[in-house]
Subunit: 138 residues, 4 copies
């Protein structure tokens, strides 16, 4: 079971509802979201719902932005836009979304993300634009 | 309370988990997903999570594709790629995602979607590419 | 031939090279780019190159942003990100890209665009994020 | 000057017009497009036009798809959709777009692309969906 510094559970309502774990423990500039896929995450085809894939990738990229500018990941970002490519279906097991910053300035940052199955297959990719929330807000 | 022909509840695990209602009752070529936003849908900013917005738009566009080719919406589509623009935050209340087909052929279709708050504000837009699942599969 | 107030030719190197005309004469909040497709715009399939389609849509959306905040369209915007869906091929004739703002704030704006053939067919759609350039720059 | 096997010039009208060189000589599964930026490629800000950036990335990804399925890059693909993130401006000099396949099946493939300046800076990223053209067509 994942636990310890940099492992974040139940930070938000959506995270609790979907049941994923945020992992920023690696100190490698990446944000990660880990989900053990269950029947409650399924779509009409009985595989992981594309919208939940987008959720994981969005959060991984947002945490990639957060750790890029704050060691503890406490900086907050709004998603401006994101794009997801659904490369392969995820029938079950554990999936890991990874996000990191590719460039940008102080306020607007560009990120990319990948969703892998625990068996190593690439399931989805994403890109996104993130905007830093001014301190005192959010 | 929404009910009757063309109102679809709990069709998938993800739909039950997130708690939205699919509405294809209007026979206007559009798919709709309706969500009453609660604390369980919130992000780090306390507003509707972008990933859940993507879920609703993806499903509304997928149902837009389904009703485009099958009167009862039973045709199934896979999401190939989708893009979401997060225009305004959704603090609470009811939100409605609407999706429709803009073009394409028999197998690959292009869709666009909009998420409105019940007060009329445009909260997000989306575009997506959808692929028809061959009958007998999915 | 298109001419008169709100018709912009040869404003930039790229515009001259590609040969399209910008039209912001309609005062309807939309930017337009008009191109008469020739062999010099063709791709490997002998139809209008997707990259040139993206050029036209990007410029139409950028001018949509410009006329949204300045009557004469003189305000300048940078493209942050854009997404294009290629719905149908454009074998020849005149094509018109139209762009308009869907929302946003003072600095960051969201736009959508459509490319139509002069015969009315929808050829491509786009969405984009645009950032206002501070006065005195650009 | 670039020349030799795998260097493609003037294959299409758009390529001649924009003046970029296609390079599939590396046999590393990537397509490349190289452009020496001139005034004719400029936008309203006097830097490389975003639409031309999209052109280069689209072609690099399309060639990435082509070399993925045919050693000589002769297989042809249509762009279904593409997304571009404009990370940094390109004031001049040489830029190189690189594209490769990230996944997909026989007909529909997913690609990602990057545009670098010759000095190593990342200027833009892209993702795209490509569809194989049936032989005998295109």
């Amino acid at each position: 079971m994942m636990d310890g510094p940099g492992i974040i559970r139940d930070e938000t309502g959506a995270q609790t509802l979907l049941g994923y774990v945020v992992d920023i423990s690696a100190k490698d500039g990446k944000g990660r979201c880990v989900l053990d896929v269950g029947a409650q995450h399924g779509n009409r085809h009985g595989v992981l719902h594309g919208g939940i894939i987008a959720c994981l990738l969005d959060n991984a990229m947002g945490y990639g932005a957060a750790v890029h500018v704050s060691e503890d990941g406490s900086a907050k970002f709004l998603t401006v836009s994101m794009n997801t490519q659904f490369i392969a279906p995820a029938p079950g097991g554990r999936v890991i979304a990874t996000g990191k910053i590719t460039g940008g300035g102080r306020n607007l940052m560009f990120a990319e993300g990948e969703l892998h199955h625990e068996d190593g297959r690439l399931l989805a990719t994403a890109t996104g634009v993130y905007k830093k929330v001014a301190e005192g807000r959010g």
